[in-house]
Symmetry: C2
Subunit: 407 residues, 2 copies
């Protein structure tokens, strides 16, 4: 058992002073606050700064990190960026991917992230043949997470088509299992409780196979993530092929619900927002990627008010800094509306901590509370960025950066 | 004389490897590149990372730094933020302002900024009476810059009115000299070559007095800065009172020109853009402040293409990180247009270095070239953010942060 005296701690969205924490077997066994705590010192370690639950990075494509600083040389769209990303995807092997992922997950740990949702679709050899162990690439990512000391939900992604009605092309052969049943067979054989499910998008999984993935996730009580309406082009393609929006398609196929996360959710109709909200589907925003890729600004607040809890991801890893993601949600709303104050700091911290954890199926993480895992991080209050900003939730969201995480 | 071997250096918008630099009396006396440089070692110091000209922060209100993390608690507009800022402005004394400014300028130095344009209007005592030395507040800022080791252009600001046709109210009495002639007298008495001029805005200086400030600046060959069209409300007020846009008003009064900087330039007509561009007026964008204050997204690229060179400022200091400002310009254009690649890294670096210096009247800064001041900074390539991103201009703009400045 260890006893920590936290100078400041984030409890239920507020920063409290002088918090005494007992930790046993990696779990929080006691939390007490109040004036008496200041006097306790025997056997306790004092932690300066603001201690908070470790952050949950709910949308990661680890290999995209290798593109940082390298996709900016030319004018272009999301789709030209995607070409560069595909060239990179062609080259990776289980060994090189593991080495890269150790770096990426270590960067996450250094910046205060203790849990990651890895949206993983680079399954097979370059010509599409499975590795001897068809889950070798996924296992490389799990091993990388272990090595970096980060908790992982491997969102094993079903990715079958280049577009609606189009066979996989080029490097996409590495992504495809052929059909959703074979995806389910492979994932079933994985045999690791850290595996969850993902549908790449309505472009990449045919309508009639969406239910197979959703069914697997439901049977295993596993989180299910899906890219949704990041690009207007996806909406147009879906409307042309099926006559409904991507959200409606997912709703009809039984994909939405409280174990499901819609990633991006940028270009939505009012009905889409209602469908997502009423089903309790999480909405994972990735502001630093969404601005980098010129996706646009999604209706984060409308989604929240409709019932979709917000979560956050660093996605392409152009930036790995969940503090930037938190304030990015609010800043983008400000740019879009010319009004401040859409999101409170407490709400954005909830997105980055316990709502994020819950969307990954980690209900035992993201709060400083008895019975929760003691996956805690500390933000220094004497850095160039944080000094003078106060020991408050607002300072965490609007002043701190990943570089200010001291432990 | 000192000799530096730079592993990588930013020269003319490109990062070159193995650059040999000689420095004499604080000036760059020699720059050589090429394969022979690698062999030189006798008496030279090797500098790892990318060495670049120190950054110019062209728009600073030092005292706003005290609001960081403190103005986010409530919904509101630019104008509610301004109320909080005014409450702070009421309390400052020359001593407390100097102490605060030393901290702020030190934060700038630590994040790679070597020159600052301080837009200074907190001139007088709380009731509006001048201090015994009417320039005591300005001198406190100059002393703070000296103590922090940053080069300063004190943009002494003429601020006479609460709005068009309205007397100064409350704390604004600290800002006002009564009229522009008395502003000019006070500035004339300053007797420090680091002093330049500023017009707060068309709201705060009556039309008929704009020419007095512009004339003083012209006679002294001094930079002249002015807030321009940050808010739609300013445009509306100007149109209602004078029947022209703020830009047209400044043009008619002879304020625009190649020694002038228009700060923000957010809400402009096509004619405004042409007037600014054809006069060679600089446009100083402050993206991290403009998003924080929900100002909107200005037409940075149109201004550039019309002839206005871009410069950058951290303004309210919600963030002090010129790397964020550089990429902020591009990212905001991406959000507004859903297209990538409006600005090249080299162009954004020019804005943050030599164009910025020139807009402050520092033509001897901002380039690694013979005869320039050796105000250099170095970005590490082995930080969490920069590693693997390459030794390129793109890595500086799109991967680095102020926290990655190592010297």
């Amino acid at each position: 058992m260890s006893v920590l005296r936290l100078e400041h701690a984030l409890l239920d969205g507020r920063v409290e002073d002088d918090v005494l924490l007992t930790v046993e077997d990696g779990l929080i066994a006691g939390v007490s606050t109040g004036p008496s705590v200041g006097g306790v010192s025997t056997g306790s370690t004092t932690v300066a700064g603001i201690t908070m639950p470790g952050l949950a990075n709910c949308h990661s494509h680890a290999f995209h990190r290798a593109l940082r600083g390298r996709t900016q040389a030319e004018r272009g769209s999301f789709w030209t960026w995607r070409e560069q990303m595909y060239r990179l995807a062609e080259e990776l092997t289980p060994d090189s991917y593991k080495d890269l992922a150790v770096e990426v997950y270590s960067e996450m740990r250094a910046t205060g992230i203790t849990a990651v949702g890895e949206f993983h679709y680079l399954h097979h050899q370059p010509d599409g043949t499975p590795y001897d162990d068809p889950n070798e690439m996924g296992r490389a990512l799990l091993a990388a997470a272990d090595e970096a000391g980060i908790r992982i939900r491997l969102l094993d992604t079903c990715y079958l088509a280049a577009g609606i009605g189009r066979q996989p092309e080029g490097v996409q052969r590495r992504f495809s299992d052929g059909d959703a049943d074979r995806w389910a067979e492979r994932v079933e054989a994985f045999g690791d409780e850290r595996v969850g499910a993902a549908i790449h998008s309505v472009r990449a999984v045919p309508r009639e196979q969406l239910g197979v993935v959703a069914g697997w996730a439901r049977r295993h009580d596993a989180p299910l993530h899906v890219h949704l309406s990041e690009q207007v082009a996806e909406n147009e393609e879906c409307l042309a092929a099926y006559g409904v929006t991507p959200t409606q398609l997912l709703a009809d196929a039984g994909v939405l619900g409280p174990m499901t996360t819609a990633v991006h959710a940028t270009h939505l109709t009012e009905t889409d927002v209602r469908l997502l909200g009423e089903s309790g589907t999480f909405a994972c925003f990735c502001p630093t990627t969404e601005r980098d890729l010129a996706d646009g600004i999604g209706p984060s607040r409308f989604l929240h008010d409709a019932g979709s809890r917000l979560t956050l991801g660093s996605d392409s890893h152009a930036v790995i800094d969940l503090f930037e993601e938190m304030r990015g949600v609010e800043m983008h709303e400000r740019l879009a509306t010319r009004q401040r104050g859409h999101w409170s700091a407490a709400e954005l911290l909830a997105a980055a901590t316990y709502d994020g954890h819950e969307s990954l199926g980690f209900a035992d993480g993201g709060r400083i509370a008895v019975g929760q895992r003691a996956d805690l991080v500390t933000v220094g209050l004497d850095t160039w960025r944080t000094r003078g900003a106060g020991a408050t939730a607002e300072a965490l969201v609007f002043a701190a950066t990943g570089a200010d995480v001291v432990a």
